[in-house]
């Protein structure tokens, strides 16, 4: 089974995202910030990462830059999932190596649509 790492400092968001993405046939791992997420990735690289931007310790953008520099770090599909919705910020995330981008609030249809666009389902 494919794994999706859900990275968000909100436990509620992680829970909502987990329910939706489990239904798409993924096993879910959770991390509350970029540092925790990096530890996960170094242990077992997931197929997909749903990534919040603003988090304590290490934010999503910093995590993404470090991830893409890791060995095997280019393999996961990374989908940002954040309240940031300014085009300049979105471009910044894409330039840093994000594959897709979700603007919060999201629902099941949006996650499904973005996973399909990314070839994940």
């Amino acid at each position: 089974m494919k794994t999706c790492l859900v990275v968000d400092d909100s436990r509620v968001i992680r829970k909502v995202a987990r329910r939706i993405i489990e239904d798409l046939g993924f096993e879910i791992a959770e991390a509350a910030d970029g540092m925790e997420a990096m530890a996960w990735c170094r242990t077992a690289m997931p197929e997909a990462i749903l990534l919040d931007w603003n988090m304590p310790v290490m934010d999503g953008l910093e995590f993404l830059k470090q991830l893409r520099a890791e060995p095997e770090g280019k393999t996961p599909v990374v989908i940002f999932c954040t309240v940031e919705s300014e085009p300049a910020r979105i471009s910044e995330a894409l330039d840093a190596g994000a594959d897709e981008y979700i603007m919060k609030p999201f629902d099941g249809d949006i996650i499904l649509s973005k996973f399909a666009i990314s070839g994940l389902c």
């Binding site: 919705s85 085009p87 894409l94 603007m103 666009i117």
Partner: protein
């Protein structure tokens, strides 16, 4: 809602638009007509329907028909249909000296014609200079008005639209996103009821009529598909929804393994192997 009222409403919608409303879905009436009733100043959909019957006000009748038949949609709905067109159909138009005419025949909120406009812009190289004329129509004036505005909510631009297409083709306006003026100018809009005589519209190289005929009764479906077929150029394509079939129509042949795509000419089989 009384059973007679529900039946009268179903008959009205069917005679005006061809759309058959499943009696089991009477619950839709309240959610579809509630907002319209509020806009028109009625306490609820019951009073709205009563006023419509009493006054026989054509504008109100159409507003009700539109509210009952409009459906939600997404950008690049059926991604593999768009992939098939991009890879297998657009190249056939490459370098043509007369404009390629494309009609989005039930464009709802405009996501389909704008998806086509984006695709044609992104794939200009495949067309090798061929000009494209993009027409879009819908039964609903409200839908056309929305489509013409080119404005979409954050939810709408996240259904089917890749983020790079959003960044490339839209700009942010407050909480909404607006498609670029360049793409908006590429689409010509018109209100068209598919039950009317379509012959005056001329001929098209591609007609998109997706997720519409499925809601018609069998006789209406045959008549509408027959009309659309007659508007296709000799090597034109009709694109239906992926679970919709033109199977019972004489003279329309499925294209490859692409569900919902039909052409008038039977594709030559084994020609390459001969």
């Amino acid at each position: 809602m009384r059973i007679e009222d529900a039946e009268a409403l179903r008959n009205l919608v069917q005679s005006r638009s061809g759309v058959v409303i499943d009696p089991a879905k009477t619950y839709l009436v309240e959610t579809r007509l509630g907002p319209l009733a509020r806009r028109e100043g009625f306490p609820s959909h019951d009073e709205l329907l009563a006023a419509m019957r009493a006054k026989r006000d054509d504008r109100l009748i159409w507003a009700v028909t539109e509210a009952m038949t409009s459906s939600e949609t997404a950008f690049f709905r059926d991604r593999d249909t768009f992939d098939a067109i991009r890879q297998s159909i657009l190249p056939k138009f490459a370098g043509r000296t007369t404009p390629v005419k494309i009609w989005s025949a039930a464009c709802a909120g405009g996501q389909e014609p704008y998806s086509l406009a984006m695709m044609l812009d992104d794939e200009a190289a495949r067309l090798d200079g061929a000009a494209v004329e993009l027409f879009a129509s819908d039964l609903s004036e409200a839908c056309l008005e929305k489509a013409r505005s080119g404005l979409y909510s954050q939810f709408e631009v996240q259904r089917g639209l890749p983020i790079r297409s959003l960044i490339r083709h839209f700009s942010k306006q407050g909480e909404m996103w607006r498609i670029s003026a360049g793409l908006m100018a590429k689409v010509r809009w018109r209100r068209i009821n598919l039950l009317a005589d379509l012959a005056p519209l001329g001929r098209f190289d591609m007609i998109f009529c997706r997720y519409v005929v499925g809601s018609f009764d069998a006789a209406t479906r045959r008549r509408v598909i027959g009309q659309l077929k007659a508007l296709l150029t000799d090597d034109g394509y009709l694109v239906l929804g992926q679970d919709e079939t033109a199977g019972e129509m004489e003279g329309l042949h499925p294209v490859g393994d692409y569900p919902g795509i039909y052409t008038r000419h039977a594709p030559q089989q084994g020609a390459a192997a001969a």
